[in-house]
Each structure stands twice: as structure tokens, then as C-alpha cells.
């Protein structure tokens, strides 16, 4: 795989810049936006539900396993579960999974439209396809994915409680006590910052690769694989950057 960073970066910026123009017809843009919200947001609820429950459950069990010293109160487990979920697992893990789900969907949808000349057809009608096809996707991702991340945090914490009670590690009173102890609202801010940044990555990178597919149907698959790989790497990279900057 060739690595032409500046070439892609420049084209990416141009694509984002090209998105800003007056919509030809606000109603159609709104319709497309709502459609994307359903596709990206509602469509990903199931997978987010499942992974966040298990993330919470596993974190509880493993934290309990690691905290062997007797003098540490059990409620600390809940505290750790809460903070790891909010700071790291809910935004990063969920977005990496969504990067695969949503990213490949966006890349292959646009790639298919490009190969079958549907994008050209719209372009000829006088539509700014960057604005009409990419804009609503990014906007929908920016709005729905942070919501999904918040839901994931809550579900994860609830999943942790269930796992804790099921395996007899911690009682529900102790868990609740831990949840309320030393809660820092700033962590939620960090979570949301991460979620917004990742949402942009998850939607714009696959859009870039999909929109610029050339060649045949084989290239669509290649573009969506590349898009998912690049977005995952970028998510982990910005995860580190944000952690270093915000914490």
C-alpha cells in the first residue's frame, strides 16, 4: 500500500471545503439528513447495545480480579468501571466498532454510486454532490454517534452491575455507592470530545475513499477496507492525542 499522506490530506481538505455551498433544495437535504440519521444512528443501536453491555460486564469482573487487597472497599470496583467506561471504553471501543460498521457502509455506498455513474448523473443535474451526498452523512454521524456513546456508557455501567451481582462480586448497594463516589463531570466532557472527534473520522474518511473510487467493482471493496483501516488507526491516534491534551 502506497502511503501518499500529503496527496490524500490535500484532497481530503478540498473535499471538505467543497461541501460548503448553498443547498440546491433545503427540503431534499433535510430528507437525506434524516435518512442518514436513521441509517447511521438507529441502524447501529443493536450492535452498540450488545458491545457496551459486555464491555461493562467484563470490566467489572476483571477489575474485581485485579483488586485483591482486602482493605480496598468493594465500591471502588464500581468507581473504576464507571471511569474506564466513560473515559475510554464507551467512546473509543464503540467508535472503533462503528468505524467498521458505519465506515464500510458509507464507503461502499458512495463507491457504488461512483462506479455506476450515479454521482456523475447528479453532478450533471447541477447538484453539488459533495454537499448533498457527503454533508448529510457527516452531520448525521456528528449528531447520532455521540448519543450512541452516551447510551453505551449508561448501558455499560448497568451491564457491570448485572455482572457484579450475578457472579456475587459486589452487591447492588455497594455498586451504587461506588458510582456516586468522587464523580468528576470533566470526564463526561472528555468522553464527548472524543465522541465528536471520532464521529467525524468515522464518517469523513470512508466518504473520502468511497467518493474517490476509480475503476471497477473490486475497487469498492478495497476502498472500504482501506477506509476502515485508516479510520481505526486515526481513532487510536487521536485517542492518545486527546488523552494527552485533556487529562
Amino acid at each position: 500500500m502506497e502511503f501518499k499522506f500529503f496527496y490524500h490530506f490535500g484532497r481530503f481538505i478540498l473535499m471538505i471545503k467543497g461541501m460548503f455551498s448553498r443547498p440546491e433544495n433545503m427540503r431534499m437535504y433535510w430528507k437525506e439528513f434524516m435518512h442518514q440519521c436513521t441509517d447511521i444512528g438507529v441502524g447501529s443501536l443493536g450492535i452498540v447495545f450488545i458491545i457496551s453491555l459486555f464491555l461493562g460486564a467484563v470490566t467489572t469482573v476483571q477489575t474485581a480480579y485485579q483488586l485483591v487487597a482486602g482493605f480496598i472497599p468493594k465500591s471502588t470496583i464500581a468507581q473504576i468501571v464507571r471511569d474506564t467506561l466513560i473515559l475510554e471504553l464507551a467512546p473509543t471501543m464503540v467508535c472503533i466498532v462503528l468505524g467498521g460498521v458505519v465506515g464500510s457502509k458509507i464507503a461502499s455506498e458512495l463507491g457504488n454510486m461512483r462506479i455506476s455513474e450515479q454521482i456523475d448523473a447528479q453532478e450533471i443535474m447541477g447538484i453539488n454532490t459533495k454537499a448533498y451526498l457527503i454533508g448529510p452523512k457527516i452531520l448525521a454521524a456528528l449528531i447520532t454517534i455521540p448519543c450512541l456513546v452516551v447510551i453505551a456508557a449508561f448501558l455499560g455501567i448497568w451491564g457491570g452491575l448485572q455482572a457484579g451481582m450475578l457472579s456475587g462480586i459486589i452487591s447492588s448497594e455497594e455498586y451504587m455507592k461506588g458510582l456516586r463516589a468522587a464523580f468528576d463531570g470533566y470526564n463526561v466532557f472528555v468522553m464527548l470530545s472524543k465522541a465528536f472527534t471520532y464521529s467525524f473520522i468515522i464518517s469523513s474518511i470512508p466518504a473520502y475513499y468511497g467518493y474517490n473510487v476509480t475503476g471497477g467493482a473490486l475497487e469498492i471493496g478495497r476502498a472500504s477496507t482501506k477506509a476502515v483501516v485508516v479510520s481505526c488507526i486515526l481513532i487510536l491516534f487521536t485517542d492518545y492525542l486527546l488523552a494527552a491534551m485533556l487529562l
Binding site: 433544495n25 431534499m28 455506476s116 450515479q118 456523475d120 448523473a121 443535474m125 447541477g126
Partner: protein, 273 residues
């Protein structure tokens, strides 16, 4: 009217169009013919602005399309309808949604009026009982019709059609050709059609441009193409078995001597007997 002035285009080292100039007149079916790979599609994409030519001008009614930016191009683009070689229907939409799309995006008027116009166009291309079907569920010929309906729904002044007959049976081809020809005359559209189908050429070639390796090799109408002197053009048109008869006829003494042009009844009688 569309005017092309000295259009050149290369992809890397490969020269695709070398200095093409032409005039496409309104109310006529202007054909661009030539073998596969001769640059027909590239030329058409240059005309509609999907490919930027390296040099040269494209004038729409005297206005230089190549010099415009995207915003300035928009009003002209809304007067352009195009049928792509692969039809390029939106496959997430049904047939009627496909035809409604340009209306929803650009047309004024209420839902009822738009639906009426949509139905008009689908009737015009003779497409029945397919309104609720998806592109994947209809045949190639039907797709082309939907493509045409979508292209004409906004009453375009310019209609571009890339290989309307590729992948169609001869009968359906004829129907599509006739449809394009009729629409052109009916609404005085400047129509440009890419084709290598000789039936189309004879049927609707008001103005024909023969492309060979990126050069305009010959220009004329379907009335004189059979008797054109150009060697390459002859090879191209007589490659079809359908035209073997004509080729043989042409090679007969009668045509060789060119008697058919000046010569009166005498020559005519000779071949008939």
C-alpha cells in the same frame, strides 16, 4: 446549439482527443460515431463538464462553458439531460422516485403537479406497471427508458445519450432510437448521441461526426455517409454484415464510375436488369 472549438484531452501520456471542433445544432440528432475506444465517451463527458479538457472551448448558445466555475455552470446544467451508458439509475430508489428526483430537487410546484409531470414522462417513454419497481428488478431496455424519462423530466434544452443501444436487442434498440429522435424534434432539443450502431446512424443521423483515434475524421449526414469517400469511415460502417449488400452494390461498376450521381436513367436501368 453547442459549439466545440479545438478540444484536446490527454490522460497522462495517452492522447485521447486531438483537436476536435464541431457544431451540434438544435432540433437535430447529432451523432458521434466511432469504434470502441475512439474517445466518444470522453468527448461527451467534456461537453457536459464531467471531464475538463486540456484546452479548447465548449460554447452553449455562445456562452463559454469551460470558463465557468461550478456556480456559473449550475443554470446550464439544469438544462442538460443525460442518459448514461449504464443508465446510472439511483438504485436505492424506485422507478418513479428516480424520475421524481430532479423535480423534487429543482422544480417549483406542488407534489401533485410534480407527480403528474413524472407520470407524463413515464408514459412518454411507454413504461407501464413499473412505477414501484427498483432498478435491479427491471430489464436493460426499461432502465434506458427510465433513464430517458429522468433526463427529459425537466424539459432540457440539451440531451446527451451515451450508447443508447449497448446491451439491447435490435427491436428494443429501434424503439429507443425512435423515442430519442421524436423527443428531439418535439421539443427542439439539441441532442448528442454516441453510438456505433449502424441502425441508429441510418435511422436518426441528421448530423454525424465520425471519430477515429481522437480525431474528427468525417462529418456529414445519413444521406451521404454510405457514399462517403473516407477509407476509415468505410471500413467502420461496412464492418457490419447488414451493410455487405450495400458495399457490394457500391463496388459495382455502376457506382465506381460515379454514374449514379450525374448519369440519368441509363445507368439505373442497367443495374436493375
Amino acid at each position: 446549439m453547442i459549439e466545440l472549438i479545438n478540444i484536446r484531452k490527454s490522460f497522462g501520456e495517452k492522447v485521447i482527443l486531438q483537436d476536435v471542433s464541431a457544431k451540434m445544432e438544435a432540433g437535430k440528432t447529432n451523432l458521434i460515431i466511432g469504434a470502441s475506444g475512439s474517445g466518444k465517451t470522453v468527448l461527451m463527458k467534456c461537453m457536459v463538464g464531467l471531464i475538463k479538457p486540456d484546452s479548447g472551448q465548449i460554447l452553449y448558445n455562445g456562452k463559454d462553458f469551460t470558463a465557468m466555475d461550478d456556480m456559473e455552470k449550475k443554470p446550464i446544467r439544469q438544462e442538460i439531460g443525460m442518459l448514461f451508458q449504464g443508465s446510472a439509475l439511483f438504485d436505492s430508489m424506485t422507478v418513479e422516485e428516480n424520475v421524481m428526483f430532479p423535480l423534487d430537487m429543482f422544480a417549483r410546484g406542488n407534489y401533485k403537479e410534480k407527480r403528474k409531470r413524472m407520470q407524463e414522462c413515464l408514459d412518454r417513454v411507454n413504461l407501464k406497471d413499473a412505477n414501484k419497481k427498483y432498478p435491479a428488478e427491471i430489464s436493460g431496455g426499461m432502465k434506458k427508458r427510465v433513464g430517458i424519462a429522468r433526463a427529459i423530466v425537466l424539459n432540457p434544452k440539451y440531451l446527451f445519450v451515451d450508447e443508447p443501444n449497448s446491451g439491447l436487442d435490435p427491436q428494443t434498440s429501434l424503439v429507443i432510437d425512435k423515442l430519442i429522435k421524436d423527443l428531439t424534434a418535439e421539443y427542439n432539443i439539441t441532442t448528442v448521441v454516441n453510438t456505433h450502431d449502424m441502425n441508429t446512424v441510418m435511422e436518426s443521423g441528421d448530423h454525424i461526426m465520425y471519430m477515429h483515434q481522437g480525431l474528427k475524421q468525417w462529418e456529414g449526414s445519413n444521406k451521404d455517409i454510405i457514399f462517403a469517400k473516407d477509407k476509415k469511415l468505410n471500413d467502420f460502417i461496412f464492418a457490419s454484415e447488414f451493410f455487405q449488400d450495400i458495399k457490394e452494390m457500391r463496388q459495382s461498376e455502376y457506382f465506381q464510375d460515379n454514374k449514379w450521381r450525374g448519369g440519368k436513367q441509363e445507368g439505373g436501368n442497367k443495374t436493375n436488369s
